[in-house]
Assembly symmetry: C2
Homo-oligomer: 423 residues x 2
């Protein structure tokens, strides 16, 4: 029996595993460093207290409960030895494979300024989302108790770096909660006066969308009270705020990062060529050049569409790649030729605050409330599991009707009890 190892339980890896489920000729090992699949497109909702972490996460092994040929391990992989067909694990063990699927995704890139991360967390994991939630909610709490107006102003200033979908959705949601959810709860500050600034280095937000939708997004963000600043390149981030090219300093205690991503570093251990984002340029069938038994899929893969464009780092693309890699492994195992990956562009969408969105679905462009309704239902139905769908639907209905957020919880990293003086 041939052994397939899949590294990564995101959209791509999970899709590959599903397409290999119950193929009796193959033993499948699915490895992730976490126990859960995460629905990353809704992570900004966790960061802004709209959803619980568990609402958008599903235990990976529970997806394969009744599937005898798939084993799931929670484990960290430290390297790939292509020649020996082996993975090295952080615990020192080795895992051999006949076929390998790498689907490790991306993490944030701080453009050679790793020291910025401390002051500007990104939004890729549950822990980062709850850290951002902690910072947002704590900033209002601290501002309520602050007598120095300059410090108060800085506490109530939120800067989001990067005008892609993550940045747009985060900025819109922060503006929304400060204007609606929190506004009756404070006595000394007016939460609605919070300043929300979205910084984009390029000339428009949502650069991957058609220009008309970018413009609409900018207008809708403006109506929510978000200052959208394009051609604003960040040159420094520290505990006081953000400096942008031209000498301007924005004094802000809250900076969040949605600017750049790079592929997980496992790819670098392969010894093959990477692009500057750390992605691996794969063959048309998604295999690694010279290693037909190794497939790289999802955000880690650089898949050319034509000379200028490549497949975008979106969930539907990752799901499609997972299916293609699984089919190509079945082809190889059966002695058949592999097929090239064809990307079916399902479009893209981004929500802006609580009642608006922009969406490009093929040639159809949607804006405003219609786009938001489309966004809402597509995201609910894309979640894993009926119960998560039901819970998210209820949370959103609640939030829509009553301007409330169900997860306004500040948690800290320290679980141990503290010394004297605890209130």
């Amino acid at each position: 029996m041939k052994k397939v190892v899949i590294v990564g339980g995101g959209f791509a890896g999970l899709s590959a595993a599903r397409h290999l489920a119950r193929k009796a000729s193959l033993e499948v090992i699915l490895i992730d460093q976490r126990n859960h699949h995460l629905f990353q497109p809704l992570l900004y909702q966790v960061a802004t207290a709209g959803l619980n972490p568990a609402d958008i996460a599903a235990p990976i092994r529970a997806q394969f409960s009744g599937v005898p040929n798939i084993c799931v391990y929670m484990k960290r992989i430290s390297g790939v030895r292509l020649g020996e067909r082996q993975l090295t694990c952080e615990d020192g063990s080795l895992i051999s494979y006949d076929y390998l699927v790498l689907a490790c995704g991306t993490k944030h890139s701080y453009f050679d300024h790793p020291e910025w991360e401390e002051f500007a967390p990104g939004l890729k994991t549950i822990e980062q989302a709850t850290e951002i939630r902690r910072r947002i909610l704590s900033a209002f709490e601290r501002a309520e108790d602050e007598s120095d107006p300059d410090v108060q102003r800085s506490l109530l200033t939120f800067v989001i770096v990067g005008g892609g979908p993550t940045g747009v959705e985060l900025a819109g949601a922060i503006a929304d909660i400060s204007r609606s959810v929190l506004v009756r709860d404070f006595r000394r500050i007016n939460s609605a006066s919070a300043r929300v600034v979205l910084l984009e280095a390029g000339d428009r937000v949502l650069a991957s969308f058609p220009a008309s939708l970018s413009e609409r997004a900018r207008q809708d963000l403006g109506l929510l009270g978000v200052e959208v600043r394009t051609a604003a390149r960040v040159v420094l981030i520290n505990q006081d705020g953000v400096s942008i090219g031209g000498g301007e300093i924005i004094s802000a205690k809250n900076v969040f990062w949605g600017a750049g991503v790079q592929a997980e570093k496992l790819g670098a251990t392969l010894g093959v060529t990477l692009d500057k984002a750390g992605r691996i340029a794969v063959n048309p069938d998604l295999s690694v050049p010279s290693y037909q038994e190794v497939f790289v899929i999802g955000d880690m893969a650089l898949v050319a569409i034509d000379d200028k464009t490549s497949v975008p780092g979106l969930a539907p693309a990752a799901v499609q790649m997972g299916k293609c890699a699984a089919e190509n492994i079945l082809a190889l195992a059966g002695g058949r030729p592999t097929k090239s990956f064809y990307y079916w562009n399902k479009g893209q969408m981004a929500t802006i605050g609580r009642r608006k969105a922009v969406a490009q679905l093929g040639k159809v462009h949607l804006i405003g409330y219609t786009a938001w309704m489309a966004w809402t239902f597509i995201h609910i139905f894309s979640l894993i599991g009926f119960k998560n769908r039901l819970v998210v639907f209820l949370e959103w209905t609640w939030s829509y009707l009553f301007s409330k957020r169900g997860a306004r919880l500040i948690t800290t990293r320290n679980w141990r009890e503290e010394g004297p003086g605890k209130v």
Copy 2:
């Protein structure tokens, strides 16, 4: 206008604040180091992946949105100066009061062995609950990937120290998830073979309940597969497990603490007499001896019922004390005499696994399924907010029907992205 300061937003503090809401003659400051009120009786459900943290937490300031005379601050208090009628804050500021209500609750006591905490977290906060959840779920994940049978056995051994309601509920829930929820998800281990040991130093579990209910709880725990060990005094806890008096060592990678509590240390700064659990013996009207303007309520207060018994550390008692303290402050402010606290004993209950409980409601004793239904509905209706009630009801219905748990999420304390080798 007289100023009332309430320290602590648990059951007692929140109840006091509610009874002072909209009393125009009083300005009320409610201070807690956290932004949320926590429904502690259901914390074990978060620890065992049954509920989300936010399901049993509610933002304190949202409870007083429309109440003009109550201000909420998230702040740490470091001391009380009774003579000056002032609180000292950790940030160095001072808060003066005309009336003070201390309702800081308890934390775990490790009986002069603080070094045990690292190996045996308690269950008082959201962070501790998610830490216990992380340890439980990770133990099964690590066991699946472990080849040494002794280590595997130790990973699948769960020791709970303390046979009070927390220990009983936690032990029952761990046995339940290992026997039902997880059992189809692993390939190499049988999760149902997990060993769950409940250690109690006294001669029976649930010592505060009638002896017949203790016996029934022991039997029901036994049916779930929990080893109940009474007269078992813990003498050592470390990374390998637990040693109990008589020389027996239980090899276990998972030890949880539900054995003892002590009052928060703020009480020690008052300079008044404390009992050995750190509680303050109060006057019949809940005021501190010699300081009629200072009230101590909830688990921090030692309130004698007769020579031998005192008011137990239960949520209904805390709520009643909060009301009494509020009424006595209104009496003092109006120049009227204060009233003595009368404890109306509503009874006590503890759940055992997913379908059983024991309950003492006055002279009525309930067991088994009936007690469990009573427990379920009383707890749902005691939660704050309609939405939390609805969500918890749905989660429990789901769990009851499908043997699933909605929050099987392992999260870590580190939000920052890690170095090379990340899967």
